[in-house]
């Protein structure tokens, strides 16, 4: 393929060589995307638990017979649809090992984190698609479930699982429907071993229905255009995505770009090997390829679940970050998410590190380290493309609330947002999901109407804005009061390390968590809290992290700093201290500011 001959300008640009004529290719691409969107639409609307329907923590995709992804749904969160090819490969491998075969009418359940799944609670359902008796692909849905039968309620904040067996039920390519017949035994096992099973099993049913609809549509498309044409068009799409990624990598200067960040680990653990863990990334750019080398990353924790599956978390984190920076969708529009994008990228992750753990090291709480890895990749790449990155992001945290009401268990998960760092051309985004996750919060009016929780505050933090030529995004402060006895658990990070400032910008602000007991007394909590009992009236205060600043704060325009003060994001004394901008009765004192700035 002669991508080097492609002109860079729009007007004279030539078409790439393709297997299928460019018109049919465009038509098939549109049809594939339409199917994935329909699947996402249906799953989101049919599902029960807020983690899927509100947070949109689900994925849908079609793959070919070997698991290569044809299309994904735009509504799904990147960390869910991204791993789908890995699920299929895991399923195929597992079934081959057991000597089982697929047949029409099967539905396969899979959540093996050492077999392609992102982690145990992200359960995949795959429907094989057959044409005249031959397997041609899969229709797949994945979703994060509220509970998967781990040691304590909920599927997040299981931060004390000692191995994968403690993380909940493991399903390795299990046929929940076999040749059209439901395997009732498996469904009974699910109902009997999972908390809030009505919701969870309902969501699983929705996943199955959705995957079956996708399979029907896939088959109809193949019948309309012919299998060869569809598959050729698919190969063209892979080449298309690959070409874009290789072009973008080629534009980077060859070289090694290295960065290290640290995650908290278990800050209250007596064992220092479980705290302050480095994540090291070296991007080796050579021509139109990149090797991402994670050598130097902390050794795995054999009995603490913040190890990251290499397939399903580490790979996704790296791929998504590289594409978000190099092929930013604001500039490039929607690019088919498929293997083509990842062909130019090689990942080297030494075995036995937290980025490539050895079974049965636990992995259920891999979410925060995974996003920290994404942030580290961005920090390394900042050296090559400083205008396309943000300064360090504030990581996310997940809280699971649970309790008993009228004899049955309730579980609720809340993802606490982070924020972005400042960017070359604009301030950081405040109070938002970062990098490899993109979920939604739950409306306060929904939470309070359905759960014994009161939300007392949900605002931006004050005087917690990292200074820079462009400022860092601001984290939130959220407060909850528990109306009944119950419990919560937390899986987070970023309580010790500040998001990195870039090019003279200040470092951001850490997150924090404080529990105030109604009975008196308060606890400052670390970023990982296993099942923690609470009494009615107890009060939880969360401060979310603020991203790093970008560039020298003294270069921020005084008018922008004045706006920051007028908007009540920072006080006038902070404006003077951090930016050298002197504000007197709501106006910039230009002379004093010049003097202050030149003295700095």
């Amino acid at each position: 393929m002669s991508e080097n001959t492609l002109s860079k300008t729009s007007a004279g640009r030539a078409a790439a060589p393709t297997r299928v004529d460019p018109v049919t290719g465009a038509v098939i691409q549109g049809a594939l995307e339409n199917i994935a969107v329909e699947m996402g639409h249906k799953l989101m609307r049919m599902s029960y638990s807020s983690i899927i329907r509100e947070s949109e923590d689900f994925g849908t995709a079609l793959t070919d017979a070997t698991g290569r992804q044809l299309c994904e749904c735009r509504m799904s969160t990147p960390l869910q649809s991204g791993p789908i090819p890995g699920y299929i490969r895991g399923i195929l491998k597992q079934m081959a090992a057991r000597g089982e075969t697929l047949q029409p009418g099967d539905v396969i359940m899979h959540n093996d984190p050492y077999g392609g799944a992102s982690h145990g609670p992200d359960v995949g359902f795959a429907v094989p698609v057959f044409l005249d008796g031959t397997l041609i692909g899969f229709s797949v849905t994945t979703a994060h479930h509220l509970d998967i039968g781990a040691l304590t309620p909920g599927s997040t904040g299981i931060v004390d699982a000692v191995d994968t067996f403690a993380e909940g039920l493991q399903f390795k390519a299990i046929k929940v429907v076999e040749a059209g017949r439901r395997n009732e035994a498996v469904w009974s096992i699910l109902r009997d071993n999972i908390r809030a099973s009505a919701l969870v099993v309902g969501d699983m049913e929705a996943q199955v229905q959705t995957a079956q609809i996708g399979a029907e549509r896939f088959l109809a498309l193949v019948n309309h255009h012919g299998l060869k044409t569809v598959m050729d068009a698919f190969e063209d799409l892979l080449d298309y995505s690959e070409r874009l990624m290789r072009d973008a990598i080629s534009a980077l200067p060859d070289g090694d770009y290295a960065a290290t960040t640290h995650i908290d680990g278990f800050l209250d653990d007596a064992d220092p090997s479980r705290r302050d863990l480095p994540i090291a990334v070296t991007l080796k750019v050579r021509g139109d390829s990149i090797t991402v080398d994670l050598t130097g990353t902390a050794p795995q924790l054999p009995d603490k679940p913040i190890n990251m599956p290499l397939v399903g978390t580490v790979d996704i984190s790296i791929w998504l970050t590289l594409r978000s920076i190099l092929l930013d969708s604001v500039v490039y529009g929607n690019i088919p998410q498929n293997e083509g994008l990842t062909r130019p990228i090689t990942i080297v992750a030494p075995r036995g590190t937290i980025a490539n753990p050895i079974f049965p090291a636990p992995v259920i709480a891999r979410f925060c380290p995974g996003n920290a890895l994404a942030d580290t990749v961005m920090k390394a790449l900042a050296q090559a493309v400083p205008r396309q990155v943000s300064a360090g992001i504030g990581n996310l945290r997940v809280v699971a609330f649970s309790g008993m009401r009228e004899g049955s268990q309730w579980v609720h998960m809340e993802i606490l947002e982070g924020s972005y760092g400042g960017r070359f051309g604009s301030d950081g985004m405040d109070a938002v999901d970062t990098l490899f996750a993109n979920t939604r919060n739950n409306p306060i009016e929904d939470i309070e109407s359905h759960l014994p929780i009161r939300v007392d505050r949900y605002e931006l933090r004050h005087n917690a804005m990292a200074a820079g030529r462009t400022r860092g995004g601001i984290g939130t402060i959220r407060e909850f009061t528990f109306l009944d006895d119950g419990a919560f658990s937390v899986e987070g990070d970023g309580h010790r390390y500040r998001p990195w400032g870039y090019d003279g910008g200040q470092d951001g602000f850490q997150a924090s968590l404080k529990l105030i007991h109604k009975a008196g007394g308060a606890e400052d909590l670390v970023s990982k809290v296993p099942y923690h009992k609470i009494r009615a009236g107890d009060h939880l205060i969360s401060e979310g992290p603020s991203g790093g600043g970008y560039g020298n704060p003294l270069e921020r325009s005084p008018e922008s700093v004045l706006t920051d003060v007028l908007e009540d994001l920072i006080t006038a004394d902070v404006a003077e201290r951090d930016y050298g901008v002197v504000i007197v009765s709501g106006k910039v004192d230009a002379d004093a500011t010049t003097a202050r700035r030149s003295a700095a």
């Binding site: 729009s10 007007a11 640009r13 030539a14 078409a15 790439a16 004529d21 460019p22 018109v23 465009a26 038509v27 691409q29 549109g30 049809a31 639409h41 249906k42 609307r45 049919m46 599902s47 029960y48 329907r53 509100e54 990147p78 309902g202 049913e205 229905q209 609809i213 298309y240 995505s241 874009l244 072009d247 594409r323 930013d328 500039v331 529009g333 690019i335 961005m378 396309q388 990155v389 947002e417 960017r423 051309g425 604009s426 985004m429 405040d430 938002v432 993109n438 939604r440 409306p443 306060i444 009016e445 109407s449 949900y458 605002e459 931006l460 939130t476 407060e479 007028l566 908007e567 009540d568």
Partner: protein, 692 residues
């Protein structure tokens, strides 16, 4: 009864005059005057009246579709607005749902942070808190704090205020108290409450909708006032009625109070116009297909009823909007859509558009990129000298030049390239229709496609064929179907109450008293509008979901007192609808009634028929024949194609494709394998004989 419909679009303001007694009908078109659209509106009305010898004093109603509010939001030119909310929740409209717009972008901006409707400095918080399930007062409202907040806002030069408290949809008392205080402190300011604008749960969406109202309120108020005065000055004393997004019209008073009603109204009249055309031909299952230069707007009518969006799918400029509205799906596909090769080397058409300036290469205004219009011209489907009824001559050589250039880069023959442009844009449009039909369990094959707008009739048949649709209806005046839609509306107001009631434990007393209260509220509104009680009817709709789900389905509620039996029927209907929309019903699951809405309809006089022009014969209608290119099997073939003049086509006499039909405001293309007949109502009914 004499009425005028005025629809303000981006380029043109379309007008229709109708005398409902005599059946006389006249149309007119003037340029839109973006700086003050009421100027164009008044010019159009005066010219229309003069040209048809109509005394303005005899006009009973002016029905008006306006984009004033919409443009204020799209162009970010609204009022300096303030917001008063609960202590602790200053940033609800800034944080949003904490979700990025784009998954894969670092440089993106979030609309609600980048272009805030209400700046943080104008968002004030006060003590006071209501709690579910009934809206009970947990913390009383601090009236002094409200007064201080209002004084601050006044000092800051704020001209409109949205009052937004948590759980106000359950109990508006705190919002109303605060509103009274703010109005006292800030006389003349536009003050509104979230429970008045849209009393439904989900605070970010409700507060944002109220903030939108505050953002556009003063501007809408001034515009309506201005127009009303101009109408009076021109001697028109009839009532002005404004098109709303819900498919009805509203009084000027209502629109001034709830300006968000008009935010997405620009497209609603098109669906109404398309539906009305379908009604006249006796079709009740319709896809309305309105294509202009930059976008294709698609609406669905099932058994005579247009689909509505659910509360969570409506937005404007990236802001969620909680307001009842017709389900209209818009994609960037029109005559000006640009065909190009993207960075990855793939062939794409749209969503970028050449717009009106420079426009397609064919317009000869400096456009250098091939567009859909150029492709139509190259294939002989548009006729250079007969565009817009001869009002504009297209530059065929320019079109051929730009398409040839693209063809060279694609490595395809010129005709194949032009045809490819149409295939891709048609497939995009067909996908958009699929997403509103097949994906919701509706089989489009039993539907007729009503093709209008300047470019709808050019593409209608080929898009229909892609979907297995056998019938395409082309209205008599495709270019002003939206304006005609304005003359087919009723007054329509909606009232909503959140219920959160679950099957098995429904409080029928509360349900019935809520319905009674909502109907009484609507009756009072219609009485104030001087609508005769006999012309008022109600429609009840519930937003239902299985307990735990987050998306609701709209299910009609029965009339009269709601009994346990009737409710069982309603729940049964929910199971059925769920099964048809999603492919599955969870019959064991309890069902939650989330919201209950009553729509009040105040019947208005309306356009009830169209008469086909007398016409002549096919021979008289035939202008000439010309070569046009169509696909025949797997290759392109040039057909010597008859070109007809629409006005001269005879009623009831069938003719076959290929054929091209010319008229001032559009061109209709009938490929081979189609037959058509002009219906008594003046529409062309095209039947596709070999749908693929």
């Amino acid at each position: 009864m004499r009425t005028i419909g005025v629809d303000v679009g981006g380029t043109f303001t379309d007008l229709v005059y109708c005398d409902m007694d005599s059946g006389a009908l006249a149309i007119h078109k003037v340029s839109t005057t973006p700086d003050d659209p009421s100027r164009g509106v008044m010019t159009g009305i005066r010219e229309l009246c003069a040209a048809n010898d109509v005394d303005p004093a005899t006009i009973d109603y002016v029905f008006h579709g306006t984009t004033t509010a919409t443009n204020a939001v799209l162009e970010n030119k609204g009022a300096r607005a303030g917001l008063i909310t609960n202590d602790g929740f200053r940033d609800i409209i800034h944080i949003g749902r904490h979700q990025r717009v784009e998954h894969y972008s670092i440089i993106q901006e979030l609309p609600w942070q980048h272009r805030p409707l209400v700046k943080r400095q104008h968002r004030k918080t006060v003590p006071g808190r209501l709690v579910p399930p009934t809206g009970e007062v947990l913390v009383p409202l601090d009236r002094d704090a409200v007064r201080s907040a209002a004084l601050e806002l006044k000092a800051e030069g704020v001209e409109s205020v949205a009052i937004c408290f948590l759980f106000s949809y359950l109990n508006p008392a705190h919002e109303l108290e605060a509103k009274a205080i703010v109005e006292e402190v800030m006389p003349g300011a536009f003050v509104t409450t979230s429970s008045f604008i849209s009393p439904q749960f989900r605070e970010f969406e409700r507060f944002t909708t109220a903030a939108l109202a505050a953002f556009i309120g003063p501007k809408v108020d001034r515009y309506i006032d201005h127009l009303d005065t101009a109408l009076r000055d021109s001697g028109i004393n009839g009532d002005l009625r404004i098109m709303a997004s819900n498919g009805g019209v509203a009084t000027t008073k209502m629109v001034v109070e709830k300006p968000t009603l008009t935010l997405l109204s620009g497209l609603a009249a098109g669906v109404l116009g398309g539906k009305w055309i379908g009604d006249l031909t006796g079709r009740s299952r319709l896809i309305t297909f309105d294509i202009g230069g930059t976008s294709a707007d698609i609406g669905i009518v099932v058994d005579g009823v247009f689909a509505e969006t659910d509360a969570r799918s409506t937005s404007i400029a990236g802001f969620p909007l909680l307001t009842p509205m017709i389900d209209i799906h818009t994609i960037g596909a029109g005559g000006g859509s640009i065909a190009h090769i993207d960075r990855g080397g793939a062939f794409r058409v749209g969503p970028q558009s050449a717009g009106a300036v420079p426009g397609p290469a064919a317009y000869g205004r400096g456009g250098t990129e091939p567009t859909v219009t150029d492709a139509n011209l190259v294939l002989g489907r548009l006729i250079a000298e007969d565009f817009l009824g001869g009002g504009m001559t297209l530059d065929e050589a320019a079109s051929r030049r730009v398409v040839t250039d693209l063809a060279g880069r694609l490595g395809l023959p010129v005709e194949e390239t032009a045809h490819g442009i149409l295939t891709i844009i048609n497939a995009n449009m067909a996908n958009a229709i699929r997403s509103r039909t097949i994906q919701k369990g509706i089989d489009p094959r039993g539907f007729a496609l009503v093709a209008f707008g300047g470019a709808g009739p050019l593409h209608g048949v080929e898009v229909a064929a892609m979907l297995g649709i056998r019938e395409v209806i082309v209205p008599p005046y495709p270019g002003i179907t939206s304006a005609m839609g304005l003359l087919t509306t009723d007054l329509k107001y909606d009232v909503t109450r959140t219920q959160f009631q679950v099957s098995g434990a429904v409080d029928l007393g509360r349900l019935n008293s809520d319905i009674a209260a909502m109907e009484a509220e609507l009756s009072a509104q219609f009485a104030a509008d001087h609508i005769d009680q006999a012309d008022v009817s109600f429609r009840r709709i519930g937003d239902l979901r299985y307990v735990g789900q987050g998306y609701e389905l709209k299910i009609p509620f029965p009339e009269g007192e709601i009994t346990a039996e009737k409710l069982t029927e309603t729940f049964e209907a929910f199971h059925r609808t769920h099964a048809s929309e999603y492919g599955h019903a969870f019959r064991q699951s309890p069902i939650e009634i989330v919201n209950l809405r009553v729509s009040g309809i105040g019947r208005m006089p309306k356009l009830d028929k169209l008469t086909a022009p007398a016409g002549g014969s096919l021979a008289e209608a035939l202008v000439r024949t010309a070569p046009s290119v169509f696909r025949a099997g797997d290759r392109l073939e040039t057909f010597e194609t008859p070109i007809y003049r629409r006005a001269a086509l005879p009623v009831g006499e069938a003719f076959t494709g290929p054929a091209i039909i010319l008229q001032t405001d559009s061109t209709t293309v009938m490929p081979p394998g189609t037959r058509a007949v002009v219906d008594a109502s003046g529409s062309i009914l095209i039947t596709i004989e070999a749908a693929n």
